[in-house]
């Protein structure tokens, strides 16, 4: 059994509601059933767009719930969703700082690739999501983590954008690069580029 290393035994509220019994400790272990017939899923999260972040987190949490081993590699625009809530400006030089000013980091601030309308689009989309019982990407990412999905930050993106380890959410794997991703694919992981 793979036990997830997390700071506290913590499950997002969206996971707990509606469950009759307290969530057992084993819930923090990867759901293993079926893992044998379905190989590893590797999602390369390259886009920070709201709709794509949604696709990434829905697929990752569903696959993990089906017992599949899942890793997500976060790179370039897709790296910004890993920045902690509350961290507004990232980077050390003026260009990197400008980048974070123009492209607000954090999964809760993702923009729609179309019909964004200065944030009105995402606001309405999330309002609809609430109305229809759809979990937001941020909640889904927490769930994915709780289900044992490995989140791998791209080292190159960190360097390029000047983002420090302490700017990022907890529970991430060690940053890695292209060779790691290619090795996982060579080892048989199904890659999805989102």
């Amino acid at each position: 059994m793979t036990t997830i290393t997390r700071p506290e035994t913590y499950l997002p509220a969206a996971l707990m509601d509606g469950l009759d019994d307290p969530v057992p400790d084993e819930a923090l272990e990867r759901v293993e059933e079926g893992a044998a017939k379905t190989g590893e899923l590797l999602i390369i999260c390259e886009s920070g767009d709201l709709e794509r972040t949604w696709a990434t987190t829905i697929l990752a949490s569903s696959a993990a719930a089906s017992g599949q081993k899942v890793s997500i590699f976060f790179t370039f625009w897709g790296f910004f969703p890993l920045v902690k809530p509350g961290v507004r400006i990232t980077g050390t030089n003026w260009m990197q700082k400008m980048l974070s000013v123009m492209n607000r980091p954090g999964i809760d601030h993702a923009k729609l690739s179309k019909l964004n309308f200065l944030g009105m689009g995402p606001w309405m989309m999330k309002k609809l999501a609430k109305q229809y019982g759809v979990a937001e990407p941020g909640e889904l990412l927490e769930m994915a983590q709780a289900l044992g999905v490995r989140l791998i930050p791209c080292q190159m993106s960190m360097d390029l954008m000047g983002i420090r380890r302490e700017d990022l959410i907890d529970g991430l794997e060690e940053p890695a690069g292209a060779a790691t991703v290619l090795q996982m694919i060579a080892d048989g992981a199904t890659p999805l580029f989102i």
Binding site: L11, A14, L15, G18, L19, D20, D21, V23, P24, E26, A27, E29, V31, E33, G34, K37, T38, I58, S61, S62, A64, A65, S66, G67, Q68, Y132, G133, V134, A135, L140, M143, L147
Partner: protein, 78 residues
Amino acid sequence: MTVASITHRVDARGLSCPLPIVRTAIAIKALGSGELIEVLATDPGSTKDFTAWAKTTGHELVESSVTDGVYRFVLRRK
């Protein structure tokens, strides 16, 4: 099927994909092998999703029904 043997339940009514599946996956871990869990959902996609999920995970989908827009699934933990 004996109703009395259902010991666990997940109420996923009002929730959309993938929450019914994710919550069931977590809740089913509390069961012993062969025990039954009941899932209630309102997501019309859940019939297909639970069939697929049972196939992937190896848990048995004992019952799949719908009454007044509420989908009911009974699964037996493998």
